[in-house]
């Protein structure tokens, strides 16, 4: 079980507002996170990954405490090792597709499997600037998977994919997540794309 109980003041165009989340997530489940723009969906993912710290709260992942502001426990992102797919991809301009994966892990078989999954085998020597938006997004997904995380945090991971690639990739991604017992939180503006694969939906007000 993953327990999230956090409070963070976030800045919006209308001023400051309080992001309050209190939820429990089943392990190995796929969770869809929805909410209007500025609701704090990305902030929630960053808090879970350890990239942002809330004023108050607790995050417990499978009995391991990642964050407890009361006890001053706050594991670094390196220790949490949550796979993170950034909305703007955050690919490294100096690295090729294969180098991205090599930077994350040293297992060549796993890298080849990921390249095959993302249909990027023929582009493995290309740098991000020579990839289309959809290819960059797929690279961002497999880079996060490369570390075999126990928790995947994905921020609009399918927004730039063509309809046919999206339809083929989402069920395959589900299989991969299940195969490696990965719990996932997927932020999306379009909950329909996860219909049938998401086990749970968390709506942020």
């Amino acid at each position: 079980m993953i327990i999230i109980d956090i409070e963070k003041k976030i800045r919006t165009y209308e001023g400051y507002r309080l992001l309050q989340i209190n939820t429990a997530i089943k392990l190995n489940s796929i969770n869809c996170i929805t909410g209007s723009s500025g609701a704090g969906k990305t902030t929630l993912l960053k808090i879970i990954a350890g990239l942002t710290t809330p004023e108050k709260g607790k995050i417990v992942v499978n009995d391991g405490v990642w964050l407890d502001t009361g006890s001053r426990i706050n594991l670094s992102p390196q220790k949490r090792r949550a796979g993170f797919v950034f909305q703007e991809y955050a690919l490294f301009p100096n690295m090729t597709v294969r180098q991205h994966l090599h930077y994350a892990c040293a297992d060549d078989d796993w890298i080849n499997e990921l390249l095959h999954f993302a249909k990027l085998e023929t582009l493995e020597q290309h740098k991000p600037e020579y990839l289309s938006g959809g290819q960059q997004q797929r690279l961002a997904i497999i880079r996060a998977l490369a570390i075999k995380p126990k928790l995947m945090l994905m921020d609009e991971p399918f927004s730039a994919l063509d309809m046919d690639i999206r339809q083929a990739m989402i069920p395959e991604l589900k299989q991969l997540l299940q195969k490696f017992d990965i719990t996932s939180l997927i932020v999306t503006h379009n909950p329909q794309e996860l219909e049938g694969i998401a086990d749970n939906t968390i709506h942020i007000q």
Binding site: K46, A49, G50, L51, S76, P77, Q78, R80, R81, A82, G83, F84, F86, E88, A90, L91, F92, P93, N94, Y103, A104, E129, Y130, R143, A144, A146, I147
Partner: protein
């Protein structure tokens, strides 16, 4: 013609650039992360040589490192180091004077990189040091080169500061810019022209090389 001012100038520029590269990288990285009052004050101090007349900086360095009192006296007594009218004094003055040219471009380039690049690296389990070396530095290569060249070229052309702290001692502190001034004072325009031409050619080659490098690295992405 006495070539020593040219060699001395090149030696000074190489040593100054190397020292500034080593100390400038961590300072620029530290300054690029967040803002605090301490950072603002330190950045202002580093930037001062850009706006301060070189003679003012040279004067303060001369007073500070004078072996008669203060730091200069202490260094002389405890380490037998004298910064005034010596080559090491020129190096110290050049490091201080050229510091904004090394730190400014690197700091700006680091600040312009999306924060998410470092964050992505952290989520992959990489340390801050690994992220700096493998992700941040390779993506600011052009700015690193610009900072190195600006620092080198700026040191080549120093006059006021080096004259104040180093004086005009042949083979020790008489760099090319001072030799040019000296030759003109003595109406020896041929020598002044030779030194000037040397500096002009060296700096022109460096600037051209940088432009070629930056043009080659700025590839046009696919449509």
């Amino acid at each position: 013609m006495d070539w020593s001012p040219i060699w001395l100038t090149l030696r000074l520029a190489i040593i100054t650039t190397s020292i500034l590269f080593a100390i400038g990288l961590p300072i620029a990285y530290w300054l690029s992360k967040g803002r605090s009052l301490a950072k603002i004050v330190i950045e202002a101090i580093i930037t001062m040589p850009l706006v301060l007349p070189p003679s003012v900086l040279g004067f303060y360095l001369l007073i500070a490192f004078s072996p008669q009192h203060g730091i200069g006296l202490w260094l002389q007594q405890h380490f037998n180091i004298q910064f005034v009218f010596s080559f090491q004094g020129l190096v110290l003055a050049s490091v201080i004077y050229s510091m904004p040219f090394m730190i400014g471009p690197i700091k700006s380039a680091l600040q312009q990189l999306p924060v998410s690049l470092a964050q992505a690296s952290y989520t992959l389990g990489k340390t801050e040091w690994q992220t700096f070396i493998k992700v941040l530095l390779p993506n600011i290569r052009a700015s690193l080169l610009t900072a190195i060249v600006l620092t080198f070229a700026h040191t080549l052309g120093e006059f006021g500061v080096v004259l104040m702290i180093g004086g005009n001692i042949p083979h020790v502190t008489r760099v090319a810019s001072i030799a040019i001034y000296d030759s003109v004072e003595n109406m020896d325009y041929a020598t002044a022209n030779a030194y000037s031409l040397c500096l002009f050619v060296v700096t022109f080659i460096i600037v051209i090389a940088v432009f070629i490098f930056n043009k080659r690295t700025a590839k046009i992405p696919l449509e």
